[in-house]
Amino acid sequence: MEKFYPQYQSKGLIFYRISAKETREAVSKFMEKESLHFPVLLDKTGGVERLFGVWVHPTAYLINRQAVVCYRIMGVSDWADVRITSVIDQLLKER
Protein backbone atom coordinates (compact mmCIF):
# COMPACT_ATOMS: atom_id res chain seq x y z
CA MET A 1 0.00 0.00 0.00
CA GLU A 2 2.81 2.40 0.91
CA LYS A 3 4.39 1.85 -2.53
CA PHE A 4 1.10 1.81 -4.38
CA TYR A 5 -0.38 4.98 -2.95
CA PRO A 6 2.04 7.68 -4.25
CA GLN A 7 1.64 6.27 -7.74
CA TYR A 8 -2.14 6.69 -7.62
CA GLN A 9 -2.27 9.83 -5.50
CA SER A 10 -1.11 11.88 -8.49
CA LYS A 11 -3.96 10.38 -10.56
CA GLY A 12 -6.54 11.66 -8.08
CA LEU A 13 -6.97 8.79 -5.65
CA ILE A 14 -7.48 9.88 -2.06
CA PHE A 15 -6.69 7.26 0.49
CA TYR A 16 -7.60 7.27 4.18
CA ARG A 17 -6.97 4.61 6.67
CA ILE A 18 -9.54 4.46 9.50
CA SER A 19 -8.49 3.07 12.80
CA ALA A 20 -11.35 1.92 15.02
CA LYS A 21 -11.32 2.01 18.81
CA GLU A 22 -7.60 2.82 19.04
CA THR A 23 -5.91 5.70 20.77
CA ARG A 24 -3.95 8.34 18.88
CA GLU A 25 -0.80 7.20 20.69
CA ALA A 26 -1.24 3.55 19.70
CA VAL A 27 -1.87 4.50 16.07
CA SER A 28 1.15 6.87 15.97
CA LYS A 29 3.36 4.20 17.44
CA PHE A 30 2.20 1.64 14.86
CA MET A 31 2.65 4.07 11.95
CA GLU A 32 6.14 4.94 13.13
CA LYS A 33 7.10 1.30 13.63
CA GLU A 34 5.83 0.28 10.20
CA SER A 35 7.12 3.47 8.50
CA LEU A 36 3.67 4.32 7.15
CA HIS A 37 2.89 7.83 5.99
CA PHE A 38 -0.64 8.00 4.64
CA PRO A 39 -3.36 9.76 6.64
CA VAL A 40 -5.17 7.91 9.41
CA LEU A 41 -8.58 8.90 10.78
CA LEU A 42 -9.49 7.90 14.31
CA ASP A 43 -12.86 6.23 14.78
CA LYS A 44 -12.77 6.36 18.56
CA THR A 45 -16.19 4.85 19.25
CA GLY A 46 -16.31 2.40 16.34
CA GLY A 47 -19.28 4.32 14.91
CA VAL A 48 -17.83 4.54 11.39
CA GLU A 49 -17.00 0.86 11.45
CA ARG A 50 -20.60 0.10 12.47
CA LEU A 51 -22.08 2.34 9.77
CA PHE A 52 -20.03 0.59 7.10
CA GLY A 53 -20.94 -2.83 8.45
CA VAL A 54 -17.33 -3.93 8.81
CA TRP A 55 -16.86 -7.47 10.05
CA VAL A 56 -13.38 -8.25 8.77
CA HIS A 57 -10.18 -6.35 9.53
CA PRO A 58 -8.92 -4.83 7.33
CA THR A 59 -11.76 -3.95 4.98
CA ALA A 60 -11.25 -1.43 2.19
CA TYR A 61 -14.01 0.47 0.43
CA LEU A 62 -13.55 2.03 -2.98
CA ILE A 63 -15.72 5.13 -3.26
CA ASN A 64 -16.24 6.89 -6.59
CA ARG A 65 -16.42 10.62 -7.35
CA GLN A 66 -20.18 10.60 -6.72
CA ALA A 67 -19.50 9.32 -3.18
CA VAL A 68 -20.98 5.91 -3.98
CA VAL A 69 -19.34 2.88 -2.39
CA CYS A 70 -18.51 0.76 -5.43
CA TYR A 71 -16.32 -2.05 -4.11
CA ARG A 72 -15.46 -3.72 -0.85
CA ILE A 73 -12.18 -5.55 -0.39
CA MET A 74 -12.02 -7.75 2.69
CA GLY A 75 -8.82 -8.97 4.26
CA VAL A 76 -5.19 -8.20 3.49
CA SER A 77 -4.84 -7.54 -0.24
CA ASP A 78 -2.14 -6.97 -2.76
CA TRP A 79 -2.95 -3.49 -4.01
CA ALA A 80 -0.71 -3.93 -7.01
CA ASP A 81 -2.89 -6.83 -8.18
CA VAL A 82 -4.34 -6.06 -11.58
CA ARG A 83 -7.86 -6.95 -10.39
CA ILE A 84 -7.68 -4.06 -7.95
CA THR A 85 -5.75 -1.58 -10.08
CA SER A 86 -8.08 -2.08 -13.04
CA VAL A 87 -11.08 -1.23 -10.84
CA ILE A 88 -9.33 1.86 -9.47
CA ASP A 89 -8.30 2.95 -12.97
CA GLN A 90 -11.88 2.56 -14.09
CA LEU A 91 -13.22 4.62 -11.18
CA LEU A 92 -10.63 7.35 -11.76
CA LYS A 93 -11.70 7.62 -15.39
CA GLU A 94 -15.31 8.37 -14.38
CA ARG A 95 -16.26 12.01 -14.21
Binding site: K21, R50, L51, F52, G53, W55, V56, H57, V69
Partner: protein, 185 residues
Protein backbone atom coordinates in the same frame (compact mmCIF):
# COMPACT_ATOMS: atom_id res chain seq x y z
CA UNK B 1 -44.09 -43.16 67.93
CA UNK B 2 -41.37 -43.65 65.34
CA UNK B 3 -44.01 -44.26 62.67
CA UNK B 4 -45.85 -41.05 63.63
CA UNK B 5 -42.62 -39.07 63.42
CA UNK B 6 -41.84 -40.51 60.00
CA UNK B 7 -45.35 -39.75 58.75
CA UNK B 8 -45.06 -36.18 60.06
CA UNK B 9 -41.66 -35.81 58.37
CA UNK B 10 -43.14 -37.13 55.14
CA UNK B 11 -46.04 -34.66 55.30
CA UNK B 12 -43.71 -31.75 56.03
CA UNK B 13 -41.41 -32.84 53.17
CA UNK B 14 -44.30 -33.04 50.75
CA UNK B 15 -45.47 -29.57 51.77
CA UNK B 16 -42.03 -27.97 51.86
CA UNK B 17 -40.49 -29.15 48.58
CA UNK B 18 -43.26 -28.10 46.19
CA UNK B 19 -43.21 -24.73 47.96
CA UNK B 20 -39.54 -24.32 47.17
CA UNK B 21 -39.89 -25.34 43.55
CA UNK B 22 -40.96 -21.90 42.43
CA UNK B 23 -38.22 -20.16 44.40
CA UNK B 24 -35.13 -22.12 43.43
CA UNK B 25 -34.18 -21.63 39.76
CA UNK B 26 -33.83 -24.80 37.74
CA UNK B 27 -30.17 -25.62 37.38
CA UNK B 28 -28.72 -24.43 34.06
CA UNK B 29 -31.65 -22.20 33.13
CA UNK B 30 -30.52 -18.63 32.62
CA UNK B 31 -32.89 -15.71 33.04
CA UNK B 32 -34.09 -14.37 29.66
CA UNK B 33 -32.08 -11.60 28.00
CA UNK B 34 -33.76 -8.38 29.16
CA UNK B 35 -35.72 -6.31 26.68
CA UNK B 36 -33.45 -3.33 27.45
CA UNK B 37 -30.61 -5.28 25.81
CA UNK B 38 -32.34 -7.14 22.98
CA UNK B 39 -35.12 -5.24 21.27
CA UNK B 40 -36.15 -4.20 17.78
CA UNK B 41 -34.96 -0.60 18.11
CA UNK B 42 -31.47 -1.69 19.18
CA UNK B 43 -31.20 -4.17 16.30
CA UNK B 44 -32.30 -1.58 13.75
CA UNK B 45 -29.81 0.97 15.12
CA UNK B 46 -26.93 -1.50 14.97
CA UNK B 47 -27.49 -2.01 11.26
CA UNK B 48 -27.99 1.58 10.15
CA UNK B 49 -25.57 2.91 7.55
CA UNK B 50 -24.18 1.51 4.33
CA UNK B 51 -27.06 -0.27 2.65
CA UNK B 52 -26.73 -3.84 1.49
CA UNK B 53 -28.54 -4.83 -1.66
CA UNK B 54 -29.22 -8.43 -2.54
CA UNK B 55 -26.72 -8.55 -5.42
CA UNK B 56 -23.84 -7.45 -3.19
CA UNK B 57 -24.52 -9.70 -0.22
CA UNK B 58 -21.84 -12.37 0.01
CA UNK B 59 -21.84 -13.68 3.56
CA UNK B 60 -24.37 -14.48 6.29
CA UNK B 61 -23.52 -11.17 7.97
CA UNK B 62 -24.33 -9.31 4.76
CA UNK B 63 -27.65 -11.12 4.44
CA UNK B 64 -28.43 -10.35 8.07
CA UNK B 65 -27.62 -6.67 7.62
CA UNK B 66 -29.65 -6.55 4.40
CA UNK B 67 -32.62 -8.21 6.11
CA UNK B 68 -32.53 -5.80 9.03
CA UNK B 69 -32.24 -2.79 6.74
CA UNK B 70 -35.25 -3.93 4.70
CA UNK B 71 -37.13 -4.40 7.96
CA UNK B 72 -36.26 -0.86 9.04
CA UNK B 73 -37.87 0.40 5.82
CA UNK B 74 -40.90 -1.84 6.38
CA UNK B 75 -41.36 -0.54 9.93
CA UNK B 76 -41.40 3.05 8.70
CA UNK B 77 -44.07 2.25 6.10
CA UNK B 78 -46.05 0.18 8.61
CA UNK B 79 -46.18 3.09 11.08
CA UNK B 80 -47.44 5.35 8.30
CA UNK B 81 -50.06 2.71 7.39
CA UNK B 82 -48.58 2.47 3.88
CA UNK B 83 -49.42 -1.23 3.87
CA UNK B 84 -48.57 -2.30 0.28
CA UNK B 85 -45.09 -0.76 0.61
CA UNK B 86 -44.64 -2.23 4.08
CA UNK B 87 -45.58 -5.69 2.80
CA UNK B 88 -43.02 -5.40 0.02
CA UNK B 89 -40.22 -4.58 2.48
CA UNK B 90 -41.28 -7.23 5.03
CA UNK B 91 -41.19 -9.83 2.27
CA UNK B 92 -37.81 -8.60 1.05
CA UNK B 93 -36.51 -8.68 4.64
CA UNK B 94 -37.67 -12.27 5.02
CA UNK B 95 -36.00 -13.19 1.71
CA UNK B 96 -32.66 -12.11 3.19
CA UNK B 97 -33.30 -14.04 6.42
CA UNK B 98 -34.42 -17.14 4.51
CA UNK B 99 -31.18 -17.16 2.55
CA UNK B 100 -29.26 -16.69 5.80
CA UNK B 101 -31.11 -19.59 7.44
CA UNK B 102 -29.51 -21.97 4.93
CA UNK B 103 -26.23 -21.35 6.75
CA UNK B 104 -27.17 -20.35 10.29
CA UNK B 105 -30.24 -21.39 12.20
CA UNK B 106 -29.76 -19.86 15.63
CA UNK B 107 -30.28 -16.50 17.28
CA UNK B 108 -27.67 -14.94 19.54
CA UNK B 109 -27.83 -12.03 21.97
CA UNK B 110 -24.06 -11.67 21.65
CA UNK B 111 -22.85 -12.73 18.24
CA UNK B 112 -19.10 -12.06 17.91
CA UNK B 113 -18.48 -9.99 14.80
CA UNK B 114 -14.77 -9.87 15.56
CA UNK B 115 -12.65 -9.59 18.66
CA UNK B 116 -14.20 -7.15 21.10
CA UNK B 117 -17.32 -6.48 19.03
CA UNK B 118 -20.56 -8.39 19.49
CA UNK B 119 -23.87 -7.71 17.82
CA UNK B 120 -27.48 -8.69 18.42
CA UNK B 121 -28.17 -11.49 15.95
CA UNK B 122 -31.86 -12.40 15.75
CA UNK B 123 -32.81 -13.55 12.24
CA UNK B 124 -35.53 -15.89 13.56
CA UNK B 125 -37.08 -13.35 15.88
CA UNK B 126 -37.01 -10.66 13.20
CA UNK B 127 -38.63 -13.05 10.71
CA UNK B 128 -41.30 -13.75 13.32
CA UNK B 129 -41.87 -10.05 13.87
CA UNK B 130 -42.13 -9.56 10.10
CA UNK B 131 -44.79 -12.29 9.85
CA UNK B 132 -46.62 -10.82 12.85
CA UNK B 133 -46.80 -7.39 11.19
CA UNK B 134 -47.76 -8.96 7.84
CA UNK B 135 -50.54 -10.80 9.64
CA UNK B 136 -51.73 -7.55 11.19
CA UNK B 137 -51.82 -5.95 7.74
CA UNK B 138 -53.80 -8.91 6.34
CA UNK B 139 -56.24 -8.61 9.24
CA UNK B 140 -56.53 -4.85 8.74
CA UNK B 141 -57.36 -5.40 5.08
CA UNK B 142 -59.94 -8.09 5.81
CA UNK B 143 -57.92 -11.18 4.87
CA UNK B 144 -58.30 -13.18 8.05
CA UNK B 145 -57.23 -16.52 6.51
CA UNK B 146 -53.90 -15.07 5.36
CA UNK B 147 -53.54 -13.29 8.70
CA UNK B 148 -53.89 -16.57 10.58
CA UNK B 149 -51.31 -18.39 8.44
CA UNK B 150 -48.94 -15.45 8.89
CA UNK B 151 -49.41 -15.50 12.68
CA UNK B 152 -48.75 -19.25 12.72
CA UNK B 153 -45.53 -18.82 10.75
CA UNK B 154 -44.52 -16.07 13.18
CA UNK B 155 -45.15 -18.42 16.08
CA UNK B 156 -42.89 -21.09 14.53
CA UNK B 157 -40.02 -18.62 14.17
CA UNK B 158 -40.46 -17.15 17.66
CA UNK B 159 -40.22 -20.62 19.17
CA UNK B 160 -37.16 -21.39 17.06
CA UNK B 161 -35.61 -18.18 18.37
CA UNK B 162 -36.48 -18.98 21.98
CA UNK B 163 -34.89 -22.41 21.65
CA UNK B 164 -31.54 -20.86 20.86
CA UNK B 165 -31.77 -17.64 22.90
CA UNK B 166 -34.40 -16.91 25.54
CA UNK B 167 -35.23 -13.22 25.43
CA UNK B 168 -37.93 -11.14 27.05
CA UNK B 169 -38.55 -9.75 23.57
CA UNK B 170 -39.20 -13.24 22.19
CA UNK B 171 -41.33 -14.30 25.16
CA UNK B 172 -43.45 -11.19 24.75
CA UNK B 173 -43.91 -11.85 21.00
CA UNK B 174 -44.83 -15.46 21.77
CA UNK B 175 -47.46 -14.28 24.23
CA UNK B 176 -48.91 -11.80 21.72
CA UNK B 177 -49.04 -14.51 19.06
CA UNK B 178 -50.74 -16.98 21.38
CA UNK B 179 -53.56 -14.47 21.67
CA UNK B 180 -53.70 -13.90 17.91
CA UNK B 181 -53.56 -17.49 16.67
CA UNK B 182 -56.99 -19.06 16.71
CA UNK B 183 -57.10 -22.54 18.23
CA UNK B 184 -57.75 -25.40 15.80
CA UNK B 185 -61.45 -26.15 15.49
Amino acid sequence: MKEKCFALFLVISCLAFPGCAGVTPIAGEKPPVPVQTANLKAVLQENEGLEFVWENAKDVRDFYRGGVQQKAKAEKQFQQKAYPEAMKFYQSSNDFFTKLSQYMEEDYAEYPLFEGTNILFFPNLLTADNYLKMGMIYRETGREGSAQSSFKRAQTFVRKSLQSERTEWGLSLDKDLSNLVEPKK
